[in-house]
Symmetry: C2
DNA sequence: TCGTGTGAAGTAGTTCACAGCA
DNA sequence: TGCTGTGAACTACTTCACACGA
């Protein structure tokens, strides 16, 4: 019955998330209105693309003053965020995991890491950055009881697939994967790979683009 | 004189880097030949795309046995890696920086993090994972003297732009940016943003795709 | 006049499908 | 037969350009 939104591209979603962050900064600076060109400059995009992206929100700007910052942010919240808030789990509390916990602290109240897991018993049950760390054998129960649908995998590659399987079995439908392996998951589970090695090699390659020997 | 390769897409480069990692695993397992379909399955891609990507290498597979693993790896090395090896710098040795140092240890001998910088004097001059940590005021000199062209920014967002400016001034041409800000750099500097907040919001959004209330 | 919203055009990226080779 | 290499078709994404509204 409810209007099924037709699929919106991953890239549009990523840019909307970026725009929102930029808008939050503008709002904190007291800016009340913004035109597509400004947002485009801040995001390193074109004005046309910003307008195209914002179309999916169904939030109309004014042709005189552009978009109202507060309204846009509100619209994005409705579009991007889960209505009742969404909890995320983190698996693997090594250096990367700790960095992630710190990174997400207080940043998105609507999408907070509320449970962490680690196989190292010495880490278990000690809260890190106000987030309790559970031993691995509690994963299924904690994830299910808190209705966690989103998880971050920050474990060594050898165990990443096993962790993914357990998360999916416990009800997780979206995974942000930092482990350098290709996870096999059912079709209805979304995986985003953040592969540092690949990214660094990409940077190294393109850093040489215009290289000319003297 | 040398044939100028026409621009190859970022995504092809990223996939080649991924294929290489998969090939290294296969080689370690004693596999000597691979067909496009196998590689595609491992990478979660289609066979046609693998073949298309491999075309840029100019390495011909055999129609009987597919591609020779060792030959492909060799070809990729020639294509992706800097001939004489390339040093990378890391700026910001917090949890994330430490995780990165550990992650890249021994992984790519041709592209190693050989210098790290941090503004915290207590971290300076202590080697972490065999990589010396310098105070920030040595950045320009160390980067220049080692001919470092690739850098990773893992500092808080407030100082990321300043760090980028200093890196670029010191000769860096490619930046892997973990700070959640859009860096302004000259056109000939390549920036890859690895934005964890954006990625997590993307995952959260797509995790809800097929969500149907009971 | 200036900025949005958006069809239409253009560009980039992927997949198809098949010739050719071992 | 089975697999590569690749033009051609297709799909996805971006930009153009302009009607419309404040």
């Amino acid at each position: 019955m409810a209007g099924k939104t037709r699929p919106i591209s991953e890239r549009t979603i990523a840019r909307l998330s970026l725009y929102r962050r930029l808008l939050n900064v503008l709002q904190a600076e007291g800016v009340t209105h913004v035109v597509s060109r400004q947002l485009a400059d801040l995001a390193g995009r074109t004005a046309a693309q910003v307008r195209r992206d914002l179309m999916v929100l169904g939030y109309a700007g004014s042709s005189a003053r552009g978009y109202e910052v507060a309204g846009l942010i509100q619209s994005m919240r409705q579009f991007l965020d889960h209505p009742g808030g969404q909890n995320a789990a983190l698996v693997g509390v090594g250096n990367l995991g700790k960095a992630l916990l710190r990174h997400f602290i207080g940043r998105r109240p609507n999408l907070a890491i509320t449970a962490a897991f680690d196989s190292d018993p010495s880490k278990a049950n000690r809260p890190i950055n106000a987030c309790r760390v559970w031993p691995m054998d509690r994963l299924a129960r904690v994830v299910r009881s808190r209705d966690i649908r989103v998880a971050i995998i920050a474990v060594p590659p050898e165990v990443a697939q096993e962790v993914a399987d357990r998360l999916v079995a416990a009800g997780v439908r979206g995974i942000l994967n930092f482990a350098p392996v290709c996870l096999r998951v059912p079709d209805d589970v979304y995986v985003e790979d953040l592969d540092m090695t690949v990214s660094l090699e990409k940077v190294a390659y393109f850093a040489r683009r215009d290289e000319a020997p003297s």
